[in-house]
Symmetry: C2
Subunit: 192 residues, 2 copies
């Protein structure tokens, strides 16, 4: 097995992506398996820039192959917000709940349906090569949170063609259609 | 023609790379065609990191597709130096001549042949996708500078299989074998 560090401390994200690598010869290692990982300043202007910054910072620490991603929600009525600040929409260290609340607050003055998409940029970096792949999942935001699966805005997002929120979908189902699954499945093809 | 900004102010490098795009539908635009381009802090640890930093910074300014590269010389006896600081080996804003002088000074205590390679990392970035490709050219450093073509360490570098320095080779010949040509030819295949 080749070991690759996945530059995330987010347990939900780690589980989701690890599953995608099940059928490969790559074993993902979580940042939570290491001590004293500094916080990385994700100051890029796009998802791909943030994913690249993360991959490079973690590579610098371990000098081992790394994958990283950055993702977020882009809502049409909000001109693409929350975008790259999806995880801290309601402020630094905001909880998922606080971010969801702020999103619905911002949407109050608009009419449904709230068209939205999740975007994911994934990056592989080994000190010499940088390989990237992106994926999107289109759908809408609903007013009532539902479901305990996933993380982030999942309870508010209903993918096109579904009646369930991402929070209600099983991981196996979400991994067929999600932005992250699409991005990483493309990335896997490029690196295996 | 698609227009892509090539993130370099180095005229020699621009000419060299522009030639490689001759047979494509891509027209390269030089940074020298724009005013007030700030200096970019190339603080990466590797060629690919510096190329990526450059591409992202220039993309931020123009929001248009960018290619960038970073390259340098890696000398075996010097454990890979000058490496990422090739262009400023003798100090910030050092001339090619000063860098060449310093290289020969550092090599004085070693015996010939001075095995070396040029390495180039190239990157394409359009705000969504990041694509990279690398190339190497192997050869040796000689003690007597020769030839006025090219730039950087070219007058001191003799590629394997040649009796001439890079500084003596015609651009058309250099573009068949150079690290930069290899990197950009690979990159071109990925982006056309």
């Amino acid at each position: 097995m080749r070991k690759i560090i996945f530059a995330t401390k987010n347990g939900g994200k780690f589980r989701e992506v690890k599953k995608l690598f099940d059928s490969t010869d790559i074993e993902l290692i979580s940042l939570n398996d290491f001590d004293n990982i500094p916080d990385i300043d994700e100051n890029g202007n796009t998802f791909i820039e943030n994913a690249t910054i993360k991959a490079m910072e973690i590579y610098k620490l371990f000098k081992r192959p790394v994958i990283a991603d950055d993702s977020g929600l882009s809502v049409e009525a909000l001109n693409g917000a929350p975008g790259v600040v999806s995880a801290r929409y309601a402020g630094k260290d905001a909880s998922d709940k606080e971010n969801n609340y702020k999103l619905l607050k911002e949407l109050e003055k608009f009419e449904e349906p709230y068209k939205a998409k999740f975007i994911c940029a994934s990056v592989y970096y080994n000190g010499k090569e940088l390989i990237s792949a992106c994926g999107e999942m289109h759908g809408k935001i609903i007013k009532e949170a539902s479901g305990g699966n996933g993380f982030g805005y999942d309870p508010l997002f209903v993918p096109n063609g579904y009646d369930l929120t991402n929070g209600e979908l099983e991981l196996s189902e979400k991994n067929k259609i999600s932005h992250r699954a699409k991005a990483f499945n493309k990335l896997i093809k490029k690196i295996i």
